[in-house]
Symmetry: C2
Subunit: 377 residues, 2 copies
């Protein structure tokens, strides 16, 4: 048994919380009822003060740690971080992972059945925002009887949710860990999202989002979107080191796979297109696009964060060109302007944006030592 | 009349050269006959020693300068550079622009009629390489009676051709101007090409490249490819300055155009998809992928350039993340290792890879002064 499996949270099972009270969304629409699927690891203490919420990124879900069966090949997506004696120690914390609204892993989303129509929501599922997610997550905490989070943690789009928690619910979160994130997207970030969405939307099997009714799947578009995504998750250097110009077999002068990198991208694209829901992908990218807490403060992030009370750990990675260290520094500066307690680490890493998911020793030591110092009353 | 139109080469007309002697390609195939369409500006001197060849990039063609009619809205793609008293002065030089083999603007390519079958070549048109282009360009020089080029000039993929000229025909080229180029693609460069190709190839209207026979056009795929291309042509900063997070009208919470950048990308994609041939696009990206003169020298670019005799001007742009200055420096180093005469300029520019097409004063001054110093015998 490896050290990792010794430190595993073990066999876990997802649970579903049903919410029958309507949720008003940022776009004005009202979701009359919704489900959130979630998992928990560790034990909630008597004072319910040791909860840590994990916010997932674009393609993540509630299954952050452990396995569903001993025979499962893969553990949850952040299993290298979460477990007994791991950096996010489940001996100390009660860790909650959930699938966000509009997801495709059990929470209400475009591919789930609308209880009113008894058909998949499809295109009718609202376009949700980071703010909506955080509001729905607050409902989940209410449901679990948790008033205050010891910490909220997320990478990338998950980091935006962690930041938004401190803005929307300043009294309900003690610490926010914002990793490989940004206070909004750049034009280039949004441009990549737009190309991905257009690949999906113009796929003839998209049927304006109601492909379920046509027994169709816009696999081609979703595959292209994912291939493109993978380019932005890896740094130029990491791609160079991993694949370089390595030829798969021998050059055939064809449009088939010639280089190893092509094989990797096609594999990732095919795999994702067989698993993920295109309508969810569209909504996740829009949530990224729209998030901009400074907007209603005339672009002044410091003003946007003026009511924040949480303490922060902000982490960025040197080779992350999707959400570069500069973007994390913008958050740090705005927090410091507000005289908040902030730790900031710029981790030297080769792996680009993906580094936030990797078990890099230096990175995990930073998270471990920050989380160890959090006092639970 | 603007200064620019005063310095115009005026009304031009393309010409076609037919080659009936077979051309053996790098992949082993033989093209039994082919056409090259070209334009010339200025006058070839008596000793035929003042010719400058323009090599085009991915989506370029032979129409580098001037207009076809006074009423034409746009001039040739490098009109800001080429003309009487311009940086590439047609009072001094005889400038030749051509459309490369596999192009879609008149030279033999997938969309042109195969004289043997009387049908479009389609998928049967060979996958050509930078080396093949240079060999076909040498045929064009023979046809025009030109033994030696005063200079060969190109940006991006055009720069690779300029470099290849000096390797393949060391005695036929006096000066090479290699701009915003690289000695081969990085894994990331190739990854973007692969996503673009896959968007085209998986378009249901691609019909394995024989869409002409089906009266179809893989517009969706070509549109995605072009949108993606435009992200890589502009720097992150240029996109930020040009579009930032500017909203087109007001946020509608939809997948329609919300941000100005989205409008720009869709416009560029739609325009290109209505004009360009998808099979050509596939071949241009493959030519980029395959070019790697150091490969047969065990990756040693210095060895690959050991027979070069030309003098060089190498230019890169600080914000070019597609072909970064580092890649130009690799070329410069290998040339210097061979004790060749090299000038190198790293131009501070905001516009990313696209800068090579822009009339930046500093950049054009560098080209002008280099070209002025070229002695014509």
């Amino acid at each position: 048994m490896s050290e990792n499996s010794l430190n595993s949270v073990g066999i876990v099972a997802p649970q579903t919380a049903h919410f029958s009270e309507p949720l008003t969304l940022k776009n004005g629409e009202v979701l009359p009822q919704f489900d959130l699927v979630y998992e928990t690891y560790g034990t909630l203490n008597a004072s319910k003060s040791n909860a840590v919420l994990i916010c997932h990124a674009l393609s993540g879900n509630h299954h952050a740690a452990g396995k569903y069966a001993e025979t499962d090949k893969n553990a949850g997506w952040w299993d290298n971080l979460i477990g007994p004696n791991k950096a996010l120690d489940t001996n100390k914390f009660f860790v909650i992972g959930l699938n966000n609204l509009a997801g495709c892993h059990g929470s209400s989303g475009p591919s789930s059945i609308n209880p009113e129509s008894k058909k998949p929501y499809g295109a009718s599922f609202p376009i949700v925002t980071v703010e909506d997610w955080v509001n729905s997550q607050a409902r989940l905490l209410d449901y679990l009887g948790i008033k205050t989070l010891a910490a909220v943690i997320g990478g990338s789009l998950g980091g935006m949710q962690a930041l938004q928690w401190t803005i929307a619910y300043p009294d309900r979160v003690k610490h926010a860990l914002v990793i490989a994130s940004a206070p909004n997207l750049t034009a280039q970030n949004m441009a990549f999202n737009e190309v991905a969405r257009q690949a999906i939307i113009t796929d003839p099997e998209f049927y304006e989002g109601d492909y379920y009714a046509h027994s169709a799947v816009p696999r081609r578009g979703l595959r292209i979107a994912r291939m493109l995504g993978h380019i932005t998750y890896l740094s130029d250097d990491a791609m160079g080191e991993k694949f370089g110009r390595k030829v798969k077999d021998k050059i055939k002068y064809s449009f088939d796979v010639e280089f190893e990198m092509e094989s990797y991208l096609r594999y990732q694209g095919d795999k994702f297109a067989g698993e993920f829901d295109a309508n969810t992908y569209l909504r996740m990218t829009r949530a990224l696009d729209y998030y901009d807490p400074a907007l209603e403060f005339g672009g002044d992030l410091t003003a946007a964060l003026s009511k924040v009370k949480a303490q922060f750990l902000v982490v960025s990675f040197t080779s992350d060109w999707r959400f570069s260290p500069d973007r994390s520094r913008e958050i740090v500066k705005a927090l410091l302007d507000n005289e908040l307690t902030v730790s900031y680490a710029e981790v030297t890493a080769l792996h680009g944006h993906d580094a936030f998911l990797m078990p890099d020793a230096h990175y995990h030591t930073i998270l471990r030592s920050y989380l160890q110092k959090i006092e639970i009353q």
